[in-house]
């Protein structure tokens, strides 16, 4: 059945188009500025499109902003962290969804409650502890937390998903002689793949976009992450806007690509987290 559009539907469409253009505008403005000469960027009144497209802004920017190196640094932190979060939060979620053990409620409340704990409160003692064992200028303090439970929120999400899978499956596998590890990794894991992809994507974005962690722990320029390097580049290159805009564009591209590949899971994950 096709519903005919009313006058109000058209008003909505027009409104959405206008607001969506405003929302996308900053991205357009960034890319457009990254393809201009500094003279043209600072032209007033501003022009919408470059008169001659300065594609060599990008090679120039790469010569002062080694994006590839920062990209690799960021991946060195992000990939092991995503693996750690997925592994340890799945293990914990399995306990809370499937096993009976003493103090279950107690641990569950603590683990979920810790999600409300602001990270900034404990950065000082944690930083001091890492520097006292001489690891403060390395990636280790940034990766280790991912292997310590993976966050209350992720545990909760995976647990909710596990609870929707019938227990009979585990019991049947158990009767066939499977242990807990086998049940979890061979039987349940394939079934909870969607939620794992969601958790993985969000963890990736979280670590990818992290500013505070690298800022505190990493001081050497050649170890910087993308966000950190971009922030330093912005303060170091003051008014060289074409390079700053080109660097920003490059920094944003990986997230945009990832978003369009994993869009379905981002949306599902967000919905799952909000409605459960």
């Amino acid at each position: 059945m096709r519903v005919t559009k009313t006058f109000y539907d058209w008003v909505c469409i027009v409104l959405i188009t206008i607001i969506a253009s405003l929302v996308i505008f900053p991205f357009f403005w960034m890319v457009r500025s990254s393809l201009m000469s500094n003279l043209e960027i600072n032209q007033y009144p501003p022009v919408l499109f470059p008169n001659n497209w300065q594609f060599d802004n990008y090679p120039y920017t790469l010569s002062v902003f080694p994006f590839g190196k920062y990209l690799i640094n960021t991946l060195i932190i992000t990939i092991p962290s995503v693996a750690g979060v997925l592994l340890t939060s799945t293990l914990a979620a399995y306990c809370f969804a499937r096993l009976e053990f003493p103090l279950k409620k107690f641990w569950f409340t603590l683990v979920i409650g810790s999600m409300l704990m602001p990270g900034a409160v404990t950065i000082i003692p944690i930083f001091i502890a890492w520097s006292s064992i001489g690891l403060s200028n390395s990636y280790i303090p940034l990766i280790v937390p991912a292997y310590l439970g993976g966050g209350g929120f992720n545990i909760f999400l995976i647990r909710q998903f596990l609870m929707t899978i019938p227990r009979e499956l585990d019991e049947a596998a158990y009767m066939d002689g499977a242990g807990h590890l086998r049940i979890l990794f061979h039987i349940l894991l394939p079934l909870i793949k969607p939620v794992l992809i969601t958790v993985g994507l969000f963890t990736f974005i979280l670590y990818w976009n992290d500013v505070m962690g690298p800022l505190i722990y990493i001081s050497r320029n050649e170890m910087n992450t993308i966000s950190q390097a971009l922030a330093n580049f912005r303060s170091g290159f003051g008014t060289d806007w074409r390079a700053i805009m080109a660097a920003s564009t490059m920094s944003i591209i990986p997230s945009v690509i990832l978003y369009f590949i994993g869009q379905k899971y981002f949306v599902e994950g967000i919905v799952l987290s909000g409605l459960k």
Binding site: L99, G119, A120, F127, P145, N209, L230, I270
Partner: protein, 298 residues
């Protein structure tokens, strides 16, 4: 027999599987919490051993230190501003998108995009658009006949400017609201129409009450996130002008890591923790009053 064995293996497996999470609670929540309280009672630059000074850091925060009070005001202004404006924006957008609109998925992606790109990148784009002399926002104001505004350099405008960025980034809320709206039964809305109700009646008596748990969830989650706001102050304003955007997490960072006043910064952290704990406790305690759960009526 086999059941007992299963139960025993349950307990052992559970504690084995929970070991990472329990270690995390211990080393990343409880011990650091004790640590931060301990350090807050000292004067410590990190170089020489700490000296115990009792509650002096706290006394200073409430008497001579003007930054602390300014940061409380700035943090509340920022968080409430960003949350309330963000909720209004995202709920309205979700209502618009929930109509009979072609290409809803594409629009939703557009609104969601700012939420996932690196916030440092977004901050830089916005700082360029806010730029006072050549920035596009002032250009548009000029076209409309207004004077240029020093967006990030003016005490009055710096905070609204960074709140605006947070609102722009709140596309995640739109997605949650939209999913919630699609769960509002069409029959209820039609019933109101049959009784001659208009858009406002449907919104006020059906949509709003049914959505209140989701509004509450979004409110709480984005409040907690925004109370911990750091990047806008770090990347755009450095807490200024005249400390008008001195967010508390930025202040903790500045005192602790730029000025090496670990004792002072720890006292700030403890107060920040209490502040968030009291606020979330209060919100949970009063949530019954303003959210509506369908199951309660049935």
């Amino acid at each position: 027999m086999r059941i007992n064995q299963w139960k025993r293996s349950n307990v052992i497996t559970a504690y084995l599987f929970l070991t990472p999470a329990i270690l995390g609670l211990l080393f990343y929540t409880f011990l650091p919490l004790l640590g931060v309280m301990g350090i807050s009672l000292t004067e410590w630059s990190g170089l020489e051993p700490p000296t115990f000074i009792g509650l002096e850091n706290y006394l200073n925060l409430f008497t001579t230190d003007c930054y602390f009070q300014k940061s409380v005001v700035a943090t509340l202004y920022f968080a409430l501003g960003a949350v309330i404006t963000g909720l209004i924006y995202s709920f309205s957008m979700a209502l618009l998108l929930n109509r009979n609109i072609p290409g809803r998925g594409i629009w939703r992606s557009v609104f969601f995009l700012p939420y996932i790109v690196p916030i440092i990148g977004s901050s830089i784009i916005w700082s360029w658009m806010y730029e006072a002399n050549f920035g596009v926002i002032n250009y548009l104001l000029n076209l409309l006949g207004w004077d240029k505004i020093q967006w990030l350099q003016d005490e009055k405008f710096a905070m609204p400017s960074i709140i605006m960025i947070m609102v722009w980034m709140s596309g995640n809320l739109i997605v949650i609201f939209l999913a919630g709206l699609q769960g509002v039964p069409k029959t209820y809305l039609e019933a109101v129409e049959v009784d001659g109700g208009n858009f406002w009646h449907k919104f006020r008596h059906i949509t709003l009450p049914l959505m209140s748990p989701i509004i509450f969830y979004n409110f709480l989650m984005s409040l907690i996130a925004n109370l911990q706001g750091f990047v806008p102050a770090y990347a755009l304003t450095k807490g200024g002008p005249s400390d008008s955007t001195l967010l508390m997490v930025y202040l903790i960072y500045r005192e602790g890591f730029m000025r090496n006043n670990f004792g002072h910064a720890s006292a700030l952290s403890v107060l920040f923790f209490l502040f968030i704990a009291v606020l979330t406790g209060f919100i949970f305690a009063t949530s019954r009053l303003w959210t509506f759960y369908e199951s309660e009526v049935r």
